[in-house]
């Protein structure tokens, strides 16, 4: 089924076969959001253009002045993230991979916005982010990803767009009632 929500059309691709991890395929895109971010994060020319356009953030937030170092670090991290996704077994707990987008959020919310990133990276924190909506316990839908060089997503257009995408997918899931029933009851209670 192909669906459009407020001019945004999308379908969903099953990433882990068991239906616990999905990725959005937006209208007009060659493939789903996971394919696109991994493709970009392995594309030297795309990465060079990105880091040239965001050079000031790279220097001020990460103290990196060598574009090729930034590209190499991205290639390394993209490879690790790729392995993480590919190696998800049927026993793996996806709630360990994804974290709340807002660290200050202590409790679960209906269709919460989540992020995945590499931990324990040497030299500097990883700037790669995979963004997802938590459908219910242990079930996630990847909406996109970004190279996040600033503290807040609202600070730059490319990360702000990821927030917008998450909100649009979330609204679609709500409108189509693709939600966990317990979570939905909590959501209705909060609206009252």
């Amino acid at each position: 089924m192909y669906i459009c929500h407020k001019n945004l059309c999308m379908t969903f691709d099953n990433i882990t076969e068991d239906g616990r991890l999905w990725a959005v395929r937006y209208d007009g895109e060659v493939d789903n959001a996971l394919y696109i971010i991994l493709d970009r994060w392995n594309d030297v020319r795309w990465l060079r253009t990105f880091f040239k356009n965001n050079f000031n953030d790279l220097v001020s937030h990460f103290k990196i002045t060598d574009i090729n170092q930034a590209i190499n670090d991205t290639l390394d991290d993209a490879e690790r993230l790729q392995y993480l996704i590919m190696d998800i077994s049927s026993e793996a707990d996806l709630d360990e991979l994804f974290r709340h987008l807002e660290p200050s959020r202590m409790k679960e919310v209906l269709l919460g916005k989540e992020k995945a990133k590499i931990k324990n990276r040497r030299q500097h924190a990883s700037w790669l982010r995979i963004y997802a909506i938590k459908l219910s316990q242990g079930i996630y839908i990847i909406t996109g990803g970004a190279i996040k060089l600033t503290a807040a997503m609202q600070e730059r257009q490319h990360t702000l767009e990821e927030l917008t995408k998450m909100e649009m997918v979330r609204n679609f899931l709500l409108d189509e009632s693709i939600v966990d029933s317990d979570g939905f009851e909590d959501y209705l209670r909060e609206l009252k």
Binding site: R25, D39, N68, S177
Partner: protein
């Protein structure tokens, strides 16, 4: 709604054509050694092109190949032949491979 019901609901919105993400990821893993070399070549080429003020179109003309092919090389995803590497070295005055020594 239990997990199975949730999964079945989202399955109703599944894409009609299969995704190529896993195929591409397996390709990157299976070919990571030469891909990394290809990416390093692309980085050095882009540095030198910037120094010389060369566009992809200009480089394509100098190397006698299509701009599309140059674009693929600069992504760092091309399995470069020795002939192509030699052309890149010559046109951009770069050195990737040391000449083998024969005993």
């Amino acid at each position: 709604m239990d997990m199975e019901t949730t999964v079945n609901k989202i399955k109703a919105y599944a894409s009609k054509t299969p995704s190529r993400w896993r195929e591409e990821a397996e390709f990157r893993i299976g070919n990571k050694t030469w891909l990394r070399y290809s990416q390093t070549v692309a980085m050095k080429m882009l540095d030198r092109m910037e120094e010389l003020g060369l566009t992809q179109k200009m480089l394509a003309e100098k190397m006698g190949c299509s701009q599309q092919y140059i674009s693929k090389i600069l992504k760092g995803k091309e399995n470069l032949s020795l002939e192509t590497l030699f052309k890149i070295e010559k046109v951009l005055n770069l050195k990737f491979i040391n000449e083998p020594e024969f005993v």
